[in-house]
């Protein structure tokens, strides 16, 4: 039984059909790459799965439950977490606060414990702080801990975004172009971290244009074109497929 099961997804924006009967499924522990030419519907696919936009038709099942059209916050709580193509940092908050924010189920996030500063809340906040600092250190952002994230470079933002979503301990991680605008060294580093996470059992789905890194990294490639599935399979086989070459380069 697959962990994430997308069936017959359709999404129209006005007269434009961004997703046309798209069905993809991802098994637990898999590392799947999603590629396709610009406008193929990759980001819309993520948006529909993560609840940012509601699909017009089709179902999204996560861990056997129908989660079609569920709000992003409830999906994030159940373990389906995403990042954004254009990194969206909380620029008016420090790196630390960015990461700490994502910790799930904090008592101090309810008004009454926050007002009373209960000891349970404070212990929990201490634990969140420690965990956040660990992640920040792991992503080598510790010298920027107290910096506002608006001051970070593009690559650092990508790292911060990863650190932030990992705070949630996701079951499925949807990464929207994690290597975009990142230099080759950092790309390799981020790819290494993603591979590590996957080795530890996290299911990861990556949208990426950077084919070289992507094909090395993933177990399976899914190619979209004009909102529907073009080809899927082993990276090498997919890249050799004539339909894929045609989609990218034209006839």
């Amino acid at each position: 039984m697959s962990l994430l099961d997308v069936d017959g997804l359709v999404k129209d924006f006005g007269g434009l059909r961004a997703l046309d009967d798209l069905s993809v499924s991802v098994d637990r522990g898999e590392l799947v790459g999603v590629m396709g030419p610009n406008g193929a519907g990759k980001s819309t696919f993520f948006n529909c799965v993560s609840g940012v936009v509601a699909p017009d038709a089709g179902t999204v099942r996560f861990d056997g439950e129908d989660v079609t059209g569920d709000a992003p916050e409830s999906l994030a709580k159940t373990g389906l977490v995403r990042t954004f193509q254009r990194t969206r940092e909380l620029e008016t908050m420090t790196v630390r606060d960015n990461v700490r924010l994502a910790a799930p189920d904090q008592r101090g996030e309810r008004a009454l414990p926050a007002l009373l500063r209960t000891s349970g809340m404070r212990e929990e906040e201490q634990a969140v702080r420690d965990r956040a600092d660990e992640l920040i250190e792991a992503f080598e952002l510790d010298h920027l801990k107290d910096e506002y994230s608006g001051a970070l470079s593009g690559g650092q933002r990508k790292l911060l975004e990863l650190a932030r979503v990992l705070m949630l301990d996701p079951e499925v991680l949807l990464l929207d172009e994690p290597f975009a605008g990142v230099n080759p060294t950092l790309t390799n580093e981020i790819a290494g971290r993603i591979a590590d996470l996957n080795d530890e059992g996290m299911t990861v789905v990556i949208i990426e244009h950077e084919l070289e890194t992507l094909t090395e990294l993933v177990d399976r490639l899914v190619v979209l074109e004009q909102g529907s599935l073009l080809v899927e399979g082993e990276p090498a086989a997919v890249l050799a497929d004539e339909r894929v070459i045609e989609a990218y380069l034209g006839e």
């Binding site: 993560s50 916050e73 909380l90 606060d97 996030e109 932030r164 949630l168």
Partner: protein
């Protein structure tokens, strides 16, 4: 390290700052109780009377600006009708507790009962406005709140049988004036008591916003979609911030009614909203002490201009216009040179100077 970071950068330290506020507020309440419940009397020189009057109004408006700061400074909700919650609190308390009002409803219930009902009434109105409008984009919320305030203002003026029209509700009990030894003592006691209440409210706000709760609010202001995608129910937080701010304003309204002894539409014009907005922006949104400081500056300016009027050779009408020009000029200067406000943190608010 900025003021902000010293205040809120670290959970423990923000706790300390809140505790200090509780202590100072508590002392104020004690002093006020002494003045009210004992025959102790103080005399105030006639010339300083105006300071006490404006000071009392300042601490009442302080509650408004704290609520607004929670809504706008932290959560990013643009509420251009904050005065309506103030008015609803005041009218509710007045109509429930007044006896023998000249016009409008006067039920003559105990004020201790009326005050919490006033808070609840304002909170309920906040919840209604919130439910209908918080899902809209920011600028729509601004329009809805502005319109709500205008609608209520018109209702207060036109439903004479209920709200007493332009005369308003008279005969609201003034518990402090009744209990204190004389009117001077009552004035001072009111200032100290309300001041204590505002400082305690500052303490609570500092705690609330210095905690993970405040972190979620700031995250919503920064980027709501990101906040949702890390699993926070942002609508619920926006609703809470809105309702808490409204309830606090309702409470301030109740205090105002019980201090003033009467309510009328003239006390609840858009002028109130404008004053607290300017105070907040001047001081620096998302820093509770700064917004109170900004409000103090803007209200101090008004006080100053009262004296200035006596020594300037222009008519009162002309002077009022000059005052508006001065306030506008200050706002322009602040936005130009300190866009995050005098004590505000530019990085915190994401503005470029």
């Amino acid at each position: 390290m900025s003021v902000r970071e010293r205040l809120f950068g670290d959970g423990e330290r923000s706790g300390g700052s809140a505790e200090r506020a509780f202590l100072v507020g508590g002392v104020c309440l004690l002093v006020a109780a002494l003045l009210v419940f004992t025959p102790l009397a103080v005399t105030v020189p006639g010339s300083s009377f105006v300071f006490i009057e404006v000071g009392t109004l300042f601490v009442i408006y302080g509650l408004l600006v704290l609520g607004l700061d929670l809504q706008y400074g932290y959560t990013g909700l643009v509420n251009f009708g904050h005065v309506v919650f103030f008015a609803v609190g005041a009218y509710t308390v007045a109509m429930l507790s007044a006896e023998g009002s000249f016009a409008g409803v006067a039920l003559g219930l105990p004020w201790l009962l009326a005050l919490p009902v006033g808070v609840v009434a304002a909170a309920v109105l906040g919840a209604i406005v919130g439910t209908t409008s918080l899902r809209l984009r920011d600028d729509f919320l601004a329009i809805v709140t502005l319109a709500t305030a205008e609608i209520f203002h018109t209702l207060f003026v036109n439903f004479r049988g209920v709200f007493g029209g332009n005369v308003g509700i008279l005969g609201v009990p003034q518990p402090i004036a009744d209990l204190a030894a004389d009117s001077d003592t009552a004035q001072i006691a009111t200032l100290v008591l309300f001041g204590g209440v505002t400082i305690i409210a500052l303490g609570f706000m500092t705690r609330l916003t210095g905690s993970p709760y405040g972190r979620v609010l700031r995250a919503i202001r920064a980027d709501e979609l990101v906040t949702r995608s890390v699993g926070k129910s942002t609508f619920s937080y926006k609703m809470q911030a809105f309702v808490y701010g409204a309830a606090l304003a309702g409470f301030a309204g109740g205090l105002f009614a019980l201090y003033n002894g009467a309510v009328a539409p003239g006390f609840f014009t858009i002028q109130v909203t404008v004053t607290i907005w300017i105070g907040m922006l001047l001081g620096g949104a998302s820093n509770h002490r700064a917004v109170l400081g900004g409000l103090a500056i803007i209200m101090g300016l008004r006080l100053l201009s009262r004296f200035a009027l006596e020594v300037t050779p222009v008519s009162a009408d002309a002077f009022a216009s000059i005052r508006l020009i001065a306030v506008g000029l200050i706002l322009v200067l602040v936005i130009r040179y300190r866009p995050a406000g005098i004590w505000g943190d530019e990085r915190e608010l994401g503005v470029d100077s």
